[in-house]
């Protein structure tokens, strides 16, 4: 009788293990799950869309710089077969087939590559519907905050079968972010007023990624209470706001240099101009929501709080 009981309990436990394993295998959620070939998984992207995938995608086309950078950063660069014109980081991405860009997608090129997944950033061109009709799924990455970026990195890790690398990367990024915000968001820290622009009078408004970065870097965005995510303000607005620091991004659209700011009508007496506290930052670091944003955060924090970061 004892043997039979023992066998029964062992059996139950074995069953339970198999059951849990099965559940774990077949669960649709990325948290802790691992994909392998032959499985059908449903993932949820940042727009809440459900995408069915059969197995690990190894013919990925990225039509925005953000997913490109993430994919390469997590070690999935070999699985990327096509990128858009703007994806120029890392260097290897430049050698891949170009498929247009989010504003002018070359649908034929994409279809011709016969990808099993297309990844895009926050811009979702209508042309993607055509791609979808041909049976090619697409997913959207749309990070609005730093934590969203971490989430995206982990998601892509699971998707591409590089969960471990991705998690390692994500973890290290989180550590770095924490290191910054521990200092910048401390209650005793005096937060300077910051005006940031990526083109003349084009700034980041509430709800935008740049706004979140400024907050994390320990600054007060003077455009933080305007009405849109990417407002266009005027000279008067900035004079009235009187920022302590001005930051402009250097990117393809940039035409200014620090001395130009003082020449804008009425700007001579703005604190930032008087103190000559006008800094620049690489546009990529604040507009590509991949691992490099943390570099951007660190740079911003150093600009805003030199006293905290040597």
């Amino acid at each position: 009788m004892n043997d039979r009981k023992g066998t029964g309990i062992n059996g139950l436990m074995a069953l339970a293990c198999v059951g849990i394993a099965l559940v774990a295998f077949t669960s649709g959620y990325y948290a802790g799950a691992v994909l392998s070939a032959g499985q059908t998984v449903t993932i949820v992207d940042d727009y809440g869309r459900q995408i069915k995938l059969t197995g690990v995608p190894d013919r990925i086309v990225s039509i925005a710089p953000t997913p490109t950078e993430i994919l390469f950063a997590i070690g999935a660069g070999d699985q990327v077969i096509g990128v858009d014109d703007y994806s120029d980081y890392p260097n290897e991405a430049n050698n891949l087939t170009k498929v247009g860009n989010a504003l002018e997608l070359n649908v034929e090129a994409i279809v011709g590559l016969q990808p099993d997944l297309v990844v895009t950033g926050d811009l979702v061109p209508k042309a993607l519907e055509q791609v979808e009709k041909r049976g090619i799924p697409y997913m959207v990455l749309a990070a609005r905050t730093l934590s969203d970026v971490i989430k995206d990195i982990r998601l892509m890790g699971v998707l591409t079968g590089h969960a471990e690398d991705a998690n390692t990367l994500a973890d290290s990024l989180e550590v770095r972010i924490q290191a910054v915000t521990n200092l910048t968001l401390a209650p005793t820290v005096v937060r300077p007023k910051v005006y940031i622009e990526y083109y003349e009078y084009y700034t980041f408004g509430p709800g935008s990624f740049g706004d979140d970065m400024l907050r994390a870097a320990g600054g007060v965005n003077v455009a933080g209470n305007t009405s849109s995510e990417y407002p266009v303000v005027g000279p008067e607005f900035v004079v009235a706001a009187d920022p302590d620091i001005m930051v402009y991004t250097i990117g393809p659209m940039t035409t200014v240099d620090p001395s130009d700011f003082g020449k804008r009508p009425g700007w001579e007496n703005i604190t930032a101009v008087v103190d000559d506290a006008i800094y620049s930052i690489d546009d990529d670091l604040v507009s590509r929501y991949g691992p490099r944003v943390v570099d951007g955060l660190e740079q911003l924090a150093a600009i805003l709080h030199p006293e905290l970061f040597s």
């Binding site: 014109d85 083109y199 003349e200 009078y201 084009y202 003077v222 455009a223 209470n225 305007t226 009405s227 849109s228 407002p231 266009v232 303000v233 005027g234 000279p235 008067e236 607005f237 004079v239 009235a240 706001a241 009187d242 990117g251 393809p252 659209m253 035409t255 200014v256 130009d260 020449k263 804008r264 009508p265 009425g266 700007w267 001579e268 007496n269 703005i270």
Partner: protein, 387 residues
Amino acid sequence: MTAWSSWQRSCIRNYSAEERNMSDDKVRRVSGSEDAERLGNARKKRALYIMALLALLVTVSFISILTGTIGPIGPGKPEKISFGDAFDALLGHGGSDSDYLVAIFWEIRIPRVILGGLIGASLACAGAAMQAVFRNPMADPFIIGVSSGAALGAASAGLIGFTVVVGDFTAPMFAFFTALVTVFVVYRMGLVRGKMYVETLLLSGVAVAAFLGALVSFLIYFAREDYHELIPWLLGALTDAQWSYVAIIAIPAIVGSFIIFLYGRELNALLLGEETAHNLGANPESLKKLMLGVAALMTAGAVAFAGIIGFVGLIVPHMMRLLFGADHRMLVPASTLFGASFLIFADSLARTVVPGEELPVGIITALCGGPFFLYLLRRSRTGGGSA
């Protein structure tokens, strides 16, 4: 019920039947002082209306100066100031912590209002002149290629590396230059054996504009992200207004509108046809060339600094014609003054409609101008009793 404008109606009294019969007889010269007096009143009426438009301009300007993202008239972002503070800043009272208010008023708003007025005046006055030269109420100051020429200049300036940046005059000068070159090319195309044929000129303008527009689009595409620079310019914006711009624009604007006003009589004759104008001694050839040149200069200046602000040049002269008739001695000054008021008003809206932000004023002129004009048109059709 005639569709005569009221100021004219008051000038001519109705004649009784027997008086009309008398006119079939021999020649009779007018010696009565009554009619002369009434017609003299016409001139006074004209002056009165001009004064009224001037008063409107001053009022609109004053209100506009007080309007903006920080108020006192406005959404109050990032902060709201009171009328008291505003007046203090305007008059130069107030302590040193309102220095920034003084800067806002005296270095941003006031030059902007004045610039807007000068540009609105230039565009409307040039528009009236163009409508007379082309004998077409649908003409606007951009019809001869000024806007596409300037756009090409601005686009190339951006591409070559000149900056469309505050304080740097390179791009505006470039745009001004290319605008004038374009006009000259179109003008030469419109000349046949030394005579200017307006139909040919019009078509050449359209063709050249299309061609240059395609070039600009090509440049934009080629420049990829740089096209963002051009969008506010293409839509027309007064964002970079400053005193130096005002000083430069003032001359072509004021002198140009004055010259056009001086030729009001001849422009009237031109509307009746070139041969008629010639037979009346108005010399249409030199008149057309002069008007075209002056209008082109005024428009090119406006476009070089503020981008392509549409509808002002087309709609303001129309509106004035509906209100005051087609006589250019009234139409030109009326258009000039109302054009200024209109643009200043549109710019006030551009600065306050979206709290904290500034829209390109060209959007507002299009949105405002169209419906308002339609309303005026309807009123003149149904209420004025034409035909």
